[in-house]
Every structure is written in structure tokens, then in C-alpha cells.
Subunit: 344 residues, 2 copies
DNA sequence: TTGTATGCGTTATCAC
DNA sequence: GTGATAACGCATACAA
């Protein structure tokens, strides 16, 4: 049968002290006599006592619950984030409560606020693209809630954000593609109301310009980060009279769409067309040819976010962590890119 | 500034009743006068009041927290489950706390029990392969915790389990492959200490036997559900003198590995080799050729599990839900399978 | 139908 | 250093 778990009162009684004193040792107060401390510690161990989070929360208005807010179709990304966060927070006594939501919903803010309030969530980590919402961030701040955003642009106090430098990564991508010899390049963007889409496009375009090549605006088409829209974009680009010899797609999902269309059109990849994506999704290494892409250190970013949110909740800022906020994704070269074949 | 949120006392005062009465309407008691009910309901709406879960839990020894326990590499599966569960549980006032763990760890049971106790989790949903652990299930039962297992075998009281009939699904797969004309078939299993692996193999083999074809044991190799082991299995099978004209792999990840090897060996798929997988992973529809596979109604299973766990927690069994426990996956035919080409 | 009183397991405010 | 005792917000015997 399930023994009912010991309470602070049990510990106090066994140790022959008041529960206030037990509370002190639990919370690491210094004002406890050394022998009292040891005695109580022993009893705690013997009884396998651990404080009840709910009662604790009721009294201190904390829940030891962290929330994860997102609306992201990429399951792999979510999973990596969850594990990265848990790596840190579970060892600090926090649990992770997940909260998928609809970024484009009109009651996004209300929905998230309600989520936090209902369960007294101590702090939330917000993932892109939800993290790009000014409204949500403002509401969170306004309501006095702790939060950390994961994003691709530096749009908040560094205490509250972890950003991946996707602009720099895309610059690297541009250099790489140019180094292969490509001059005629197509680009399928993400939704242009996402900062991340803009960042990636800008990083790529600016570098192309610097390299004296430039990006033909007729070969920039807007996608929706979906497989289908990747195919649509590819259809457009590959029907062009002077079709590109390389296409970058804003994520791997769309890049897979491009690959599919190339295959349908009998265009060989990478011989006749180089393709690159972004995310290093599970797809990237599995499809044939495997996909050149950009990998973000998602787990590390998530862990950093967890550190920050816990600091924020506990108002115990460690400068080194507080200052750190930028991580750099890197290029992964696989089979889908190569030098263009000379045509006529 | 953050208004402090209204309590039951605020509502009671505003409505001019005792908090006991407010409590009644919150909990849907019938013993409340109609006008009192409406009045209180109005005040609740006006104040945007919602009961504090922690306090509520402290008083009723419930947390309104559901746990999700798993150790599954398939992020897509996890994501689908999470959304399926949340679909149900969030509308019933529960939140979902995630708990990835190590199935093969020696302290799996202790770890999970500790997780539940720490946060007073009301009930847990356990995913395969962790759900196959007899020890964990026993410990959960022993400790008096509510749980629901998602599995591929009917190994618990129907109140506590949702099973996908993978045996039947694999029978369907076998019929399909045979209907294409294949007689020489290879099979890469999952880890054979998993029930699910056994079920799939048995379902397939039994049907082949029924159809008078049988499965050559020399062409059954054990994989680990990983991409690499799929490649290893394919290497073995495809080097055989009479190499199979069709290979089934226990999951899509391994099937992708098979496809990769076939590609390396210059074996055309599906012309010279048919390949099928299991899961309908995101991979399945993206790779070229797209993969014939089995799709489990994961979201529906998860929702059912959520219903069951909530019933279990609230001790409010609805017969129709209690009896329902079996769901049937179905075959999805794509490009990777076809009739074998006649050889010499 | 409605209200009173008590307890849930902590933390925190005081005194001693 | 230590200990009564009052919150915290709600549920629930028990009355009325």
C-alpha cells in the first residue's frame, strides 16, 4: 500500500524540534545550530522526506513549474528544446509544463496569460515564432511574469532572451555557395512576417552583395516553411528561362520540397542543381542526396534559456549567465550541394 | 502592474455569499439556488476568477497535473502524443508535465516514482517502450498511482491501457506485399526485447504462412530501430545470393537506411526492391521514393489515453470510454513498393 | 439551499 | 538559534 508521504511535521516531531526549524534547514538558512542541523538532516534522510511542492507554492507563491510556450511544426526542434530545458531545470527542482498554442490566434496573449495564471507557472520559455510577438512579451512583462524568449533577433533585454545568430550563419551559407562557383541563385524565404525569415534572407543577400554577386529579386520567392510551399517555390524557380543553379530554402522541409520537384523535372541534384536548407531536421541526413543545411545548437540554447529563466525566477542573477545570450549556428555540408556544371 | 488575482473570497464578498457556496458552483454542485448560481457565475466572469490550482490541490490532494513518461527517439511521435493529450486534458483543467527518461536505466522505477511524488502528479501516461515495463506498471499500481499505458500489446487491465493493433496492421502489410507478387521477402526487426517488435514480426510472419509463402528465417535480421542499424540490416540482406525483392523494416527510420544502402548498391527502388516501413514518420512522405508504411492514429490514441487517465483520476468511469482500448493502424501505400521485376 | 469551522503542508512574521 | 502562530486559497465535514 502507498504509505502517505512524510510531512514537515513528521520530521519536526521525530527530531524533537519545531517545524520552523526544519523549514530553516530545508531552505538552507544559516541560523541553525550545527548539531540541530545534522540531526534534522538525518531525520530527513531516514524518512525520505521532501517538501510538498504544492504546499510550498501556496505559502511562497511559487509553483516550481516552468512553462514552454510554442507553435512550431518542427517536432524535432520541440523535442530537442524540451530535453535541453529539462536537463537543467529538473536538477534544480523544476518541472516542465508544455503549452502549444496558435501564434496567429487573436487571443494568443490571453491564452498564454491564462495558462500561466491557472497553474501559477513560475516562468515561461517562449519559442519562435511565438517568441517574436511584441504583444505577448509586453503582456508578460506587464503582468510581472518571468520569461525568456528564444529567437533569431536581438529584440529584448539580454536577461530575457537567447538568440541564434542566423544572419551570420546565412552569411556563411552564402560564402559557401559562392565558393562552389554559383552565381545564379534562387531563394525561397519563410513567411516574411517572421523576423527569422528576414534575418536569413538579409544575411544571405548582404553577403552575396559583398561578394559582388548579388541576389536577383526575381529569384526570391516567399514560402510558408511547408513542404508544399517548397514545391511551389521550386516550380516557379525551375521554370525560369535562366533557372538557378542553386536554391536555398528557408528550412529543410521546403528544401525537401525543392528536391522532390527537381526529381520530377528530371533535374539532377547536385549536378544540375544545388539545394540547401536550414534546421538540420531529421530529414536532412536521411533524404538522398542528404541535405546541406544549417544546424542550430538547439539543446544548448534551451539549456541556456533554462538557466536564465531559473535565475530570473529566483532573482539570483549570475553575471556570466546573464551576459551570455548569443549562440552561433553552423553550416553542415552534405551531398546536395556541389559546383555547378558548365552549361553551353 | 500585475493586479493580484482574485480569490474565492473576493468572489464570495462581491456576490454577498459565503465562500462555501462559491466553492459549490465552481465544482458544479447541484445544491445551489438558480439565482444564486447565476449571480455567482456573473461575478466569476466579471472578476475573471479561476481557482488556484495549488491551493485547490493542497486541500483536495490533487495537483491537476498529468505526467507524460517516455523514452522514445521519435520526436514526431512524442509531439503528436503531447498535442493529442493536451487536446483533451487542457479543456478539463489539467496541465501536462513532460518526463523523458531512460528505459534501460536501472533506476527507471525510482526515477518515475520520484517524479510523480515530487509534484503530486495526479496520473501518468506512459509511452512505449517504457510502457512495456512490467516493473514500472507494478510499482505504479503498488503505489496507488493512476496510469495509462500506450502499447502494442494488451498487457494490462483495459482501464489502464490503449493498444494499437500492430499485429493486425502487419497482417495487412503482409497481404499487400504478397499481393504485389513478392515471395522473397526480407525483414529487419526492432530490438527483440520489445513487445512491439515481436508483435510486428509475428503479425507479418503468421500471415505469410497463412498465404502459403512463409518467411525465410535467414532473411530476418534484428535491428535497433536506428538509421544505422537499418543500413546494417540492408547490407546483410542485399548481399545475399538470392537477395529479397522486398524488405520490411520495423520503422521508417530503418527503412530510410535500407533505401540509402539500396541507392549505394545501385539497386532501383521500387523496381528492383520494394521497401516498407512503420510509423508514417515525417520522413516517410518526404524521401524519394516516398515510403509505404503503417500509420498509427497517434493523436487519437493519445486523446483516448487522456480520457482514460482523467476518468481514473476522477474515479468517474464512463463505461463507453473504459471499454474502448484498441485502435487499428492502417497501411499507407506510397512509391517505395511495387510488383517485383521478373529476373532471369 | 446555504454557512461555519477546520485542515492541507508550507513559508514567514514575529517574539523569545 | 529557536518556536508559536498566522497566513496562503481552497475543499469538505458538519451544522443550520
Amino acid at each position: 500500500m502507498s504509505e502517505k508521504k512524510p510531512t514537515i511535521n513528521d520530521v519536526a516531531r521525530e527530531a524533537g524540534v519545531s517545524k520552523r526549524t526544519v523549514s530553516r534547514v530545508i531552505n538552507g538558512s544559516t541560523n541553525v545550530g550545527p548539531k540541530t542541523l545534522e540531526l534534522i538532516q538525518q531525520v530527513i534522510d531516514r524518512l525520505d522526506y521532501s517538501p510538498d511542492k504544492q504546499a510550498r507554492g501556496l505559502a511562497s507563491s511559487r509553483s516550481y513549474l516552468l512553462g514552454l510556450i510554442y507553435d512550431n511544426p518542427d517536432a524535432l526542434y520541440i523535442d530537442q528544446v524540451q530535453r535541453g530545458v529539462l536537463n537543467i531545470c529538473s536538477s534544480k527542482g523544476y518541472e516542465l509544463v508544455v503549452h502549444p498554442c496558435k501564434y496567429n490566434s487573436t487571443d494568443l496573449v490571453k491564452n498564454c496569460l491564462s495558462f500561466i495564471r491557472r497553474s501559477n507557472i513560475d516562468g515561461v520559455i517562449v519559442l519562435p515564432p511565438v517568441s517574436e510577438s511584441k504583444d505577448l512579451a509586453a503582456a508578460l512583462r506587464e503582468a510581472g511574469h518571468c520569461y525568456v524568449r528564444m529567437a533569431s533577433v536581438d529584440l529584448d533585454d539580454h536577461t530575457n532572451i537567447v538568440v541564434s545568430d542566423e544572419r551570420a550563419a546565412m552569411s556563411e551559407m552564402a560564402r559557401y555557395i559562392v565558393s562552389l562557383g554559383h552565381k545564379n541563385i534562387g531563394f525561397i524565404t519563410g513567411p516574411l512576417n517572421y523576423y527569422s525569415s528576414i534575418e536569413r534572407l538579409e544575411g544571405f543577400r548582404n553577403t552575396l552583395v559583398q561578394l559582388g554577386i548579388g541576389l536577383d529579386e526575381a529569384k526570391v520567392v516567399e514560402g510558408q516553411n511547408s513542404y508544399q510551399s517548397g514545391q511551389d517555390g521550386a516550380q516557379q524557380l525551375l521554370q525560369l528561362a535562366d533557372r538557378p543553379s542553386a536554391i536555398f530554402a528557408n528550412n529543410d522541409e521546403m528544401a525537401a520540397g525543392v528536391l522532390r520537384v527537381a526529381h520530377q523535372l528530371g533535374i539532377k541534384v547536385p549536378e544540375q542543381l544545388s539545394i540547401a536548407g536550414f534546421d538540420d531536421n531529421i530529414l536532412a541526413s536521411r533524404i538522398i542526396p542528404s541535405l546541406t543545411t544549417i544546424q542550430r545548437p538547439v539543446g544548448a540554447m534551451a539549456s541556456l534559456a533554462a538557466h536564465k529563466i531559473i535565475q530570473s525566477v529566483e532573482k539570483n542573477i549570475v553575471e556570466s549567465v546573464d551576459k551570455e545570450f548569443l549562440v552561433k549556428p553552423h553550416l553542415i555540408i552534405r551531398e546536395s550541394t556541389s559546383a555547378p556544371t558548365a552549361v553551353d
